[in-house]
């Protein structure tokens, strides 16, 4: 077995003294693990940082084997955000969510393209909006899509302002009035393609996607959402003061 694919490094875990077990999100082979010999060495360690885009060649005798990767750097995304705490938190969170949410060896090309676009958008200031939309897209891709097309109660599609935590369907402002304390807020930028959310809208969006990710995807784990995702939420809430250090 032998294939070559475009991949994004999600994680690398030391294996033995010199090797690493690397998890990649590949374009055509989904989330795929493999052994990288010499992965902890100084030449390869930098390549295997989460978020880097690489060209990976996977080889194994049988398809069900772990196999070995040989990796070549295509784009060093990680190095560009290492010094920015917020962007680094965004990158780490996206990689951790992808790592935890996707089944192994199940192709999810839209998630790959979305993650690539998200990582590519990190140098821009509006990346948090893209991040929330990416999580929303991820939920849809793995079978837990939110229905934001019309109100669950009235069928209307104007003034959608809440989401039902039970059904994951949008609820209009008028229909939500009696129960709005029990509903999740739906920030408007999620309804308009290309729209950018204000910081408070982004935080509401993260609460929304975080709720469904935790309930549907990470509910089976004892720890809930990945620590990296929680750190991102904390950083975005304290954004005005987060850049005052150093």
């Amino acid at each position: 077995m032998d294939w070559t694919d475009d991949g994004i490094v999600l994680s690398a875990k030391k294996h033995g003294e010199t090797s690493s077990i690397v998890s990649l999100l590949t374009r055509n082979h989904g989330r795929h693990l493999g052994l990288v010999r010499g992965g902890t060495g100084k030449k390869t360690r930098g390549v295997l940082q989460p978020g880097n885009r690489i060209e990976a060649r996977w080889r194994a005798r049988l398809a069900e084997h772990l196999g070995t990767f040989s990796c070549e750097m295509k784009e060093a995304f990680t190095a560009t955000v290492l010094r920015d705490p917020l962007k680094l938190a965004g990158l780490s969170s996206a990689c951790a969510i992808t790592e935890g949410a996707l089944a192994e060896r199940e192709p999810h090309q839209p998630v790959f393209e979305g993650l690539l676009a998200l990582i590519g958008s990190l140098p821009q200031d509006d990346w948090p909006s893209a991040y929330v939309k990416w999580e929303l897209g991820l939920l849809g891709e793995i079978g837990f899509a939110l229905d934001l097309s019309s109100c669950a109660a009235t069928g209307q599609n104007d003034q959608l302002a809440y989401v039902s935590p039970k059904s994951g369907r949008a609820v209009s402002l008028a229909a939500a009035e009696p129960y709005k304390n029990k509903l999740l807020k739906l920030p408007g930028f999620l309804l308009r393609p290309g729209a950018i959310g204000a910081p408070e809208d982004v935080n509401e969006g993260l609460v929304l996607t975080g709720y469904f990710l935790e309930r549907n995807v990470f509910g089976h784990t004892n720890n809930g959402l990945p620590a990296a995702r929680n750190r991102l939420t904390d950083r975005l809430r304290s954004k005005p003061t987060s850049k005052t250090c150093r």
Binding site: E17, Q49, G51, T80, L82, L88, A228, R231, C245, R246
Partner: protein, 197 residues
């Protein structure tokens, strides 16, 4: 037929970094051949280390005394603290003889993958040391990796309220490094951190 005692020794040595069963077997044979000149001094040295080495309660360094010699050395600048991930990093800085302040060993980095959170590292000790006063600068010498920098940013946030200056090591071209062989990330970091000549 190898005796059980030798087999146990081979098994234990094979667990050391850099050694496998085959090299452990060679090491054991070598130790047996040089019983007096090597095996006995080695046994004594290992016994001494196990018996006497302590972890410094102030900085986390390994030494025969607590606080360690680095923490009690009056020639060192006690207003500077260099935060490192492991004792190996502390030793590397000491070998280079480039830093004359005090250290703080975290004992690792934050890692979502390995489930290492702030409570698993020696972070409260650092906050206490800085909070006790007398510190002018904290140098974050964590690795230039996602985990290392995540830890550095976390520490930076925790130390922000203390008013102490927080700095970090530069990232760039290593001595003897050729631009042609550097990765894109290091080149970018080096270009961003350029200085007037």
């Amino acid at each position: 037929m190898v005796s059980a005692e030798i087999e146990i020794l081979i098994t234990l040595l094979a667990k050391l970094p850099g050694l496998g069963p085959r090299s452990a077997r060679r090491a054991v044979l070598h130790l047996i051949k040089r019983r007096e000149s090597l095996a006995q001094p080695l046994t004594k040295a290992m016994g001494d280390v196990l018996e006497n080495i302590l972890t410094c309660s102030a900085c986390g360094n390994l030494d025969t005394q607590d606080p360690c010699q680095l923490c009690t050395d009056p020639k060192r600048d006690a207003t500077l603290i260099c935060v490192v991930e492991d004792v190996a990093d502390l030793w590397a800085l000491e070998r280079a003889k480039v830093f004359q302040g005090h250290y703080h060993v975290l004992g690792g980095t934050l890692s979502a993958l390995d489930g290492v959170g702030p409570e698993d590292l020696n972070i409260p000790g650092l906050i206490d040391r800085v909070g006790n006063g007398g510190i002018k600068e904290v140098i974050l010498a964590t690795s230039a990796t996602v985990d290392g920098q995540t830890t550095a940013h976390y520490l930076c946030d925790r130390l922000a309220s203390t008013g102490v200056q927080v700095t970090e090591l530069a990232h760039g071209v290593p001595v003897g490094g050729e631009l042609d062989y550097l990765d894109d990330g290091t080149l970018g970091a080096a270009l961003k951190a350029r200085q007037p000549v």
